[in-house]
Structure formats: C-alpha cells, structure tokens
Amino acid sequence: MEDIKTFINFIIGYIRKDEWSPYVAGILLGIVGFVAVWLSDSLLGASGAFENFAGAIGKAVAPATFDNMYFNFIMPPGLNWSLVLFIGTILGGLIAAATSGTLLWGKRDAANSDAQWKAIFGPQPWKRWVIGFLGAIIIEYGAGIAGGCTSGLAISGGMLLAPAAFIFVAAMFAAGIVTTLIIYRRRY
C-alpha cells in the first residue's frame, strides 16, 4: 500500500515539474506519433492546419484570390483532422504550463518573458511580437515549400524513414546555425 502511494506521489510530482527530461517527453511524443498512425491513419503535423484555416478565411473574404490549385487541392480549406489536432496542441500546452505553475496568461511580462531573448534584442514586448510575427511567416512559408514542419515532416516522415525528412532536418539546422551566428555575432 505504502509503495503504491509513494509511486503515485512520484508520478504526480513529476507531472507538476516545470521541465521534464527530454527523453521522457520524447517517449510520450513517440507514442503519440505511432498511435496517430495506428488509430487514425494520420500523421502528426502542425503547419498544414494554419493553411487549411487561412484558406477557409480567404475563401470567405477574397474567393477569387484563393481560387487556385494550392487552396483547392493541395491544402483544401475547412475543418479536418490536423486542425482538430492543432487545437488540441494549444490546449495541451496550456494544461502543461498550468500544471507546472508557469502559465503566464495575463501576467505583466507574458509577451516577453525569456531572459535570453531580452539580453539579445531588448526588453520591449513589441519587439518580441514583431520578430515573432516575421519569423513565423518565414517558418510557415518554408514549411509550405518543404511539405511539412518539424513535426509533420521531420518526426512523422522520419518514423516512416522518408528521405524528405532527413534532407529537411539537415537544411533546417544549417540555416538555423547560420542565422543564429549572424544574430549573436561575438556572443554566439
């Protein structure tokens, strides 16, 4: 009895920890990855959902502009499996932050809370917003060209041993290292 109690307390204590060992969290993601294929016959992905969602808005606002091959066939707009997955991902992130007590929702420095970011770019939240926004546009554009993002192509493709995944990861790290070198210069 005592043993079970200690075990459950250990599990709860671990769930409440702010930062897990990357190996433990990685095992969880790996299980999610193959269960998705097993039970839903789908691959995990995050970047596609943005395009489905943007397509739905675009079709409503400017039907002529969005009436092209890409939004009609490659990324059809509307609700689909990966959009639901994406909503779940946001909820999961919120829940995880809440369990470790690091949820910054509504707090004063919520928009710019990373000490390292402040040291490099400055403490103003608007800078964080602008650079995050521009960076995200570049990310989504790159994911659109490559055919997936870190989860949809690198991990989901990688677990099927798709060559595309490994080419993508190599290019991603090459560009990431060069960009960081340029931004950090002597502080690299």
Binding site: G26, G33, G92, S100, I155
Partner: protein
C-alpha cells in the same frame, strides 16, 4: 453533419493533440532559449527530444506493421530541391522566432 466515425476520429485528434502539446511544453520546446541554444550547441534538449521521439515512434510503427496492425500511410514525397529550400527558409524563421 459529421458522421460518427468522423466524430470519433476528431475526438482522437483532440486527445492526441493535447498529449502532443503537453509533451512539447514539458520538454521546454515552447521556450525561445531551448530552440536557439540548440543552434548554438549549448543546449541539446531539442535534439535529445526529437530523436527520442523518432526512435520510439519508428520502433512502435515497424513493430505494429510486423504484427499486422497497421499499413503505412503514404510517406511525405521526396522532392529534393523543395525539401532543401523549404528547410533553409524554415530554419531561418525558426532561429528568428524561436518556436
């Protein structure tokens, strides 16, 4: 109206999504410094996380195919120029935004 099967499948997506987000957050991949420090070779948590996930998913998937539980979905298409150019653009954005 959505069919029962679609509803069940979307329910599955929601649960898997929550677990996905949970694991990303607990591994610290929602933090700017974790992502960028992987590019500076000062914090390898991102790589440890990604490769662990890859190994677990790969072993699970190939085992399940071996016992006949799954048939593989079509793998992402190899399109070398697209994968490289897309990856380069993606990496640039990733180092900037830190997500």
């Amino acid at each position: 109206m959505l069919s029962d099967y679609t509803m069940l499948n979307y329910g599955m997506a929601l649960v898997l999504g929550i677990l996905f987000g949970f694991s990303l957050n607990k591994a610290g991949l929602t933090k700017y410094n974790k992502i960028v420090n992987a590019f500076r070779f000062t914090d390898m948590a991102v790589l440890k996380y990604m490769l662990t996930a890859l190994m677990v998913a790969m072993s699970g998937l190939y085992f399940m195919r071996w016992i006949g539980f799954v048939t593989f979905p079509s793998v992402p298409a190899t399109y070398i120029a697209g994968n490289i150019v897309g990856g380069l653009i993606f990496g640039t954005g990733m180092a900037l935004a830190g997500y």
